[in-house]
Amino acid sequence: MPEQILIKRLLNGDENAYRDVVTDYHSSMLYVARAIVGTAIADEVVQEAWVSVIKALPKFEGRSSLKTWILRIVSNNAKSRLRKESRHFSAGDAADLEIIGMPQERFSDNGHWAVPPSRWNIESPDELLTSDELQSCIRQAIDKLPAIQQTILSLRDMDDMSMEEICKILEISESNSRVLLHRARTKVFLAIEKFQGN
């Protein structure tokens, strides 16, 4: 459905349109809220954000997609919530001590592979996903990621949003977010590698 029609239905208070957007966007909204305020109050922030969305919708000008606009409202609400609690948001410094990619011990001192990646028995994504066990193993790996990495991974690799949009929503630098994305993907890579090795 074209976005303008959806927006018109939302402005009219159409219950089915509400249901459609809540179903489509709620989990992404939760991810954004969690990354900024933490899991404990993310639900509350998202509920407030929905009300802000409905209030502000007549002013939506369509300069970004509806989803990006909604996620920015979540981000703004989450950040003002932090300010109220005298906390502030930090996406972490990309140059912190956590490794960027594959663990240090996988390489020798000259930077060559000391423990090269093992060849996977199953190579195609479709085949990999036929295993329920592997699916739950990947989900666990994603669940264990720090909230900000989980958010960037899900917006980028699951929701297909551009890095530019993601950086605007979270207000973090592109270089920082790319490092966080790479760390997150690497952890999922290691989970699949470990699964294949067993």
């Binding site: 809540v22 009300v51 390489f107 996977w120 699916q135 297909d160 790479h182």
Partner: protein
């Protein structure tokens, strides 16, 4: 010349096509001579595809219903003059 470790750091930028032309050439050269990194990049690419395809967990229907009902209530309480001050 780039090391294997460098390649492991650049993997995401490589597969997302986010490298400068010079870095692109350096990475391609390394991959040409190093089969371990070729394997690594291939599997890393597979990882990203798998993440992309993994089914989202089914949404919590009760939570959705509750949210929709809250929105309908909220909508009824918004006065036209609230709009510009949100």
């Amino acid at each position: 010349m780039l090391s294997c470790k460098d390649i492991s750091h650049l993997a995401s930028d490589h597969i997302d096509d986010n490298l400068s032309l010079l870095m692109k050439i350096k990475v391609k050269f390394h991959l040409f001579i190093c089969h371990k990194c070729r394997d690594f990049i291939k599997q890393f690419r597979t990882t990203v595809k798998v993440i992309h395809q993994i089914n989202p967990l089914p949404a919590d229907q009760e939570a959705i219903d509750l949210q929709v009902q809250n929105l309908i209530k909220a909508k009824q309480h918004i006065k036209p003059d609230d709009v510009d001050r949100s």
